[in-house]
């Protein structure tokens, strides 16, 4: 049958029709303050596709096919899947050990938002398991798909993969509830890389990987533009504070600290407000620091596609800059997956870091740095400057379900909250099942932040918006503090979509910037 079809349409023609992107205007859910499990609605989000990357130069640079789906795609698909199963033993384990207990089914924000059964983590993983059982187990190989509840590779299967592996934000909430610890994010990452290998490459994500590798940051800001933006902020700070020596140093050799942060922090709102906070903290601490035009990006989209080489290339810029500038320590700004790559992967890729100060042998998070100063009384704080806000904190998925912060396994929850409480009088947590290790994704993680994904972004933000509206109602909360650039971009867009003010989302260091009193330096 498949052969007959190809006489008129090539596999690429067939797939392109199936994964065609169409603009859909999403409707936000009604806010009740409660997160209810929806009725199952088959194919509810099947029409919501990501845009494919079509720029041939970028595709060639990244080493992916440049003309859409390749003619021998089945062969390449299975070869790549075999490679993934062998290279990442976790992925093979996750194929084998699921007992279909159903604990994950109602844990995914995108399932809760859409009701589409393919967004249940078990069903999403099952898309790969069906192929696995058919082609990688001996009964499947011998007797075909029926016996093993498998599936033969077709263009329709590809379209399902393309649709639903791009409706997973790799937030890993489901893995917290899985009795076997199956990490659907790893399955999604592997699936995306398999799709890439046959020529189905996502535009938003890969354009960014390309820019991060060739220009140095996700925004594609050339060094002159980075310098111009940072100098603007420096001038603004000096003017506003009337302090001449507050600076944002760039490429300064011999500084103690290399500070890396997402490029969004010197471009977008509300991200930029945190940059003012970082600069004020470094100034008041009296520690020499520098940013780098080479390491002008903290984020690392290589993580999202399970392509270790892409991830390594992006991360290498940070460690090259650290060596060239001869810094003693590396500190990362407010960025979710940057922290995960920096703290969990850097050492494997480029460690050990003998060139760093032995007192700081691993990268630090800016919240850890600031909290330490607060605890030592080294910062003068006027908490009343934040009395206009009642603050709550959205734990970013990549940080919350990453390894640690400050060397403590729960530091990623306590340290940012410690900073907020150190600079604000009023702090309230959202319901327990929506924070810390159980936090809900903002709805746009892992390459789903493009305008093409607006329907899934709006639906996936529902659990977080419900939790926020609940504490707004009970405690008058009016500020959602964040430590991730993606969360900032997504939630400053989702708040108005759900009827709140855009300004209610912002960075933890935006609050620090407001409360810190500069000048007196005794106690440092």
């Amino acid at each position: 049958m498949a052969d007959e079809k190809t006489t008129t349409d090539s596999p690429n023609d067939v797939v392109q029709k199936l994964v065609h992107f169409e603009k859909i205007k999403p409707k936000p859910a009604e806010l009740t303050g409660e997160i209810n499990t929806p009725c199952i609605s088959k194919n509810a989000s099947f029409d919501w596709k990501v845009q494919l990357l079509a720029d041939k130069d970028q595709l060639n640079h990244l080493g992916y096919p440049a003309d859409g789906l390749i003619p021998n795609w089945k062969e390449v698909f299975l070869k790549k899947m075999d490679e993934m199963l062998n290279k990442y033993r976790s992925v093979r384990l996750f194929m084998d050990i699921c007992v279909r207990c159903g604990a994950c089914t109602d844990k995914c924000h995108n399932f809760l938002g859409t009701g589409d059964p393919y967004n249940m983590p078990v069903a999403r993983a099952e898309l790969m398991r069906k192929v696995y059982r058919r082609y990688f187990t001996w009964p499947g190989k011998l007797f075909g798909s029926k016996l093993v509840d498998g599936v033969d590779l077709t263009e329709e299967v590809l379209a399902l993969w393309h649709t639903y592996y791009y409706q997973c934000t790799e937030c890993r909430r489901c893995s917290v509830f899985c009795p076997y610890g199956i990490d659907t994010a790893e399955i999604t990452m592997a699936a995306r890389e398999i799709l890439n290998s046959v020529g189905l490459v996502q535009k938003y994500l890969h354009e960014i990987v390309f820019k991060a590798q060739t220009i140095g940051n996700n925004l594609g800001m050339i060094p002159d533009a980075v310098v111009n933006a940072l100098e603007f902020v420096q001038d603004d700070l000096q003017e506003e504070l009337e302090i001449e020596d507050i600076r944002i140093p760039i490429d300064e050799e011999g500084a103690e600290v290399l500070f890396v942060t997402p490029s969004a922090d010197f471009f977008a709102s509300p991200h930029i407000e945190s940059l003012y906070g970082y600069a004020k903290v470094f100034y008041q601490a009296g520690i020499s620091w520098t940013m780098s035009t080479k390491a002008s990006e903290g984020g690392n989209f290589g993580l999202f596609i399970h392509n270790y080489e892409h991830m390594k290339k992006i991360n290498s810029r940070i460690w090259e800059a650290a060596k060239e500038l001869k810094v003693k320590r590396v500190i990362g700004g407010e960025c979710g997956h940057m922290w995960r790559v920096l703290s969990s992967y850097s050492n494997t890729m480029f460690g050990p870091f003998d060139h760093l100060d032995p007192k700081y042998p691993r990268p630090q998070h800016i919240c850890e740095f600031t909290l330490d100063l607060l605890n030592r009384g080294a910062l003068k704080i006027d908490k009343s400057a934040n009395d206009d806000v009642v603050v709550t904190m959205h734990d970013s998925c990549q940080v919350a379900r990453g390894m640690e912060m400050g060397g403590h396994p729960e530091g990623q929850y306590d340290i940012p909250r410690g900073v907020i409480k150190g600079v604000c009088n009023r702090f309230v947590d959202m319901p327990q099942e929506t924070i810390k290790e159980r936090t809900y994704c903002c709805g746009a993680g892992q390459g789903l932040l493009g305008d093409d994904m607006m329907p899934i972004r709006v639906k996936g933000a529902m659990p977080r918006m419900q939790a926020y509206s609940a504490v707004k109602k009970s405690d008058g909360v009016n500020f959602l503090a964040l430590i991730c650039a993606i969360c900032k971009a997504q939630l400053s867009k989702m708040l108005p979509t759900y009827g709140f003010a855009m300004e209610e989302a912002g960075g933890v260091h935006q609050l620090v910037a407001k409360a810190i009193v500069l000048g007196a330096k005794e106690g440092v």
């Binding site: 050339i222 533009a225 709102s269 932040l449 093409d452």
Partner: protein, 111 residues
């Protein structure tokens, strides 16, 4: 692929309505794009568009909004140097809507 009919020619746009080829830009193209959104470009809009284009030529990226606000404040007065004013001019947001009329590509990254 969507297109824009202007001056008897077809101008290619991407799925979000941004120019595919930045050299296709002209004031007429900008006005036509705005007209499609029911917006009539006036001097104040052009002030923003011209600054965006000048900045882009030098830095290959749009300026951050704070830079734009400061420039508008300098050119058009303190009462207009704020984000609210820019949103009045470009209701979908200066970063997206104004850049689209100015023929700049859409920014990528966590923005």
């Amino acid at each position: 692929m969507p297109t824009l009919e202007f001056d008897g020619k077809q101008v290619d746009l991407d799925e979000d309505g941004y120019l595919t080829n930045l050299d296709d830009w002209s004031e007429g193209v900008a006005s036509t794009l705005a007209e499609q959104d029911g917006l009539n470009l006036e001097d104040s809009h052009w002030e923003v568009i011209r600054f965006l284009r000048d900045y882009y030529q030098q830095y290959q990226i749009a300026p951050m909004i704070k830079i734009l606000v400061k420039e508008i404040k300098k050119k058009m007065g303190a009462d207009k140097g704020n984000t609210k004013y820019l949103y009045q001019l470009f209701p979908d947001g200066p970063a997206k809507q104004a850049c689209r009329y100015a023929g700049l590509p859409k920014p990528t990254g966590c923005v």
